[in-house]
């Protein structure tokens, strides 16, 4: 550590004014300043991000006002821009994804937290973490070549036959559309629901379970009526976190949603989401108004995920602070 053996003792350190260490006595302030600058860079980036999104969307904001959110037309040629079809598509696909992913993720989390042995639980969590690391474009690839044909030939006709009286399952089966995008999204967000839910379930104190079992409850009753309600808020947190992921997910959705700015109650019909219109049209947007309308969509997406993430963190913090104090990130 020290270059010379005697440099390590305080006496030599002050006695020799030419010592390397002595000259660097004020270096603590410099180190403080450098690291502070790095931390401040992150703050600067965040401020710049909001500033850029706000100013660059100025033209569209002044021209369309709040009407932007309720206008159904998206016509770049005529310069007429409305966000409604994209907001609708984003919410619709995310809703489908949550309906599938939440029971699956919470169910799996219950298994991992309550039933599995610690070894099995940690190796399954490992696999689920790996699943979360799979790039979005890979899900899109499987979606395009595997899920879309399967939906067109098998799943959608079957749904139409059994549940066709509902408005959600009507119309021609193209394969692409809200339902397909929602299913792909569901597979992508299950790991997030799973890992956070498992964490908050494990944070429920052990005596709660034991008390329920001592009162004669079965394992399932103690889990469902005692442990899950105790972790309820944190599980909601995991759902919000997953929802924020689903809203902003771009590539996989773009590849299977059909890219058609249309509002339809049927889940079979092709649609469009905020993230996928950005992916498709941003690099070829001509004209300032077009670009500015797209950036306003980006701003909407940013604000949505901002609010959801903040809420999710708060909920998870509240639950785990009561329990073990682990804050999953």
């Amino acid at each position: 550590m020290a270059s010379t053996p005697n440099a390590a003792t305080p006496t030599d350190f002050t006695a020799n004014p030419r010592s390397w260490l002595r000259r660097w006595a004020g270096a603590d302030e410099i180190a403080h300043l450098i690291t502070l600058l790095a931390a401040a860079t992150l703050l600067l980036i965040a401020v710049l991000l909001v500033y850029q999104l706000w100013t660059l969307s100025g033209e569209a904001r002044t021209k369309f006002g709040w009407g932007f959110f309720v206008t159904k037309t998206w016509d770049p040629v005529a310069g007429d821009f409305g966000a409604l079809p994209f907001i609708y598509g984003t919410l619709m696909t995310s809703a489908v994804a949550l309906i599938i992913a939440v029971p699956l993720g919470v169910g799996a989390a219950i298994f991992l937290a309550e039933l599995a042995t610690p070894n099995l639980s940690s190796s399954l969590t490992f696999v689920s973490d790996l699943l979360a690391a799979v790039p979005s474009v890979i899900y899109g690839l499987l979606g395009v070549f595997l899920l879309v044909p399967l939906m067109r030939t098998t799943i959608q006709p079957a749904l139409k036959k059994t549940l066709g009286f509902l408005p959600f399952f009507q119309g021609p089966a193209y394969g692409i559309g809200f339902l397909t995008a929602g299913i792909v999204l569901a597979i992508m967000i299950v790991p997030f629901v799973l890992s956070v839910s498992r964490e908050v379930l494990l944070a429920v104190p052990r005596d709660q379970r034991e008390a329920a079992l001592a009162l004669g409850a079965t394992k399932w009753e103690s889990t469902w009526k005692v442990v899950v309600p105790a972790a309820r808020i944190g599980i909601f947190g995991s759902v919000f976190l997953a929802l924020a992921r689903a809203l902003g997910e771009t590539m996989a959705v773009t590849m299977v949603i059909g890219n058609n700015p249309k509002i339809s109650a049927s889940l079979f019909s092709p649609g469009y989401s905020i993230a996928s219109v950005l992916a498709n049209e941003f690099s070829e947007a001509t004209g300032n108004l077009y670009l500015s309308a797209l950036i306003e969509l980006g701003l909407v997406l940013f604000l949505l995920t901002f609010v959801l993430n903040g809420l999710a963190r708060l909920l998870i913090l509240v639950t785990t602070a009561r329990g073990s104090g682990v804050l999953p990130t």
């Binding site: 965040a46 399954l124 690391a133 079965t218 940013f302 901002f306």
Partner: protein, 283 residues
Amino acid sequence: MSPRLAWRKSLNVVMLSLTGLCALLTVSALFFILGYLAWNGGKDLSWSFFTHLPAPVGEVGGGMANAIVGSMKLLLLAALFGVPIGLLGGVYLAEFGGRTVPFLVRYTADLMNGVPSIVMGIFAYALVVMPMHHFSTLAGGIALGIMVIPTVLRNTESFLRDVPLSLREGSFALGANKWRMIATVVLPAASRGILTGVLLALARVAGETAPLLFTAFGNRYWSPGWMQPTSSLPVVIYTYATGPYEDWHRQAWAAGLVLLGLVLVTNILVRAFLTRGTAYERT
């Protein structure tokens, strides 16, 4: 056994098996994805895939050498830009911070972590592409670099906090300054955890497509220097998978297998070896 008890016991068995089924379904998704990609992409993986440029549009054959190199260049830029800021910022939070600034930085980092990657693309577009008036490797690298910062920062902070107080006190007792204590005692002690965070963050952005679509764009040829648009593996997979040619589809599978392989191998190695003995759940 009363009918009521029988009902409760059978409900217990049914519901608990259902949770097991949920876990099984979730976990098997990974093996299914991996198997399906290996099955479809494996047969088109050849030596020329790694060494050749893409064939002219419509022609069969060619490779993705430029996309592989492009991805590496983008990752290098992301690491050069994002890792130092994240690392030093993490040191600040763990070692120097007061009250208000660290709270703000922590909150911002968590917020930035949740910003959709496509929005990061817009940001890098506004920051780099608009002033320069053209797409470039630099813009893509900065987009990915910004995404690396929050993860590295939070992770570095949490591992530095795990370093025992006794090590710091020992270092002070030997007459070290604070910066010396940090650089020669605390950082080395936390180095495995920090490295884990850095590698996982890089593995995550390696698969990002959305922020590259309008920053690094794409290129069917080599991209000299840092100021030209460049091809990258994720963007090529997207373009080829949504393109009209059969041969493109086959190459998209092969590229997908390579990308997934790289990401998963990095993840497994890092989590299996670097986190041995540390609580990797904290990352």
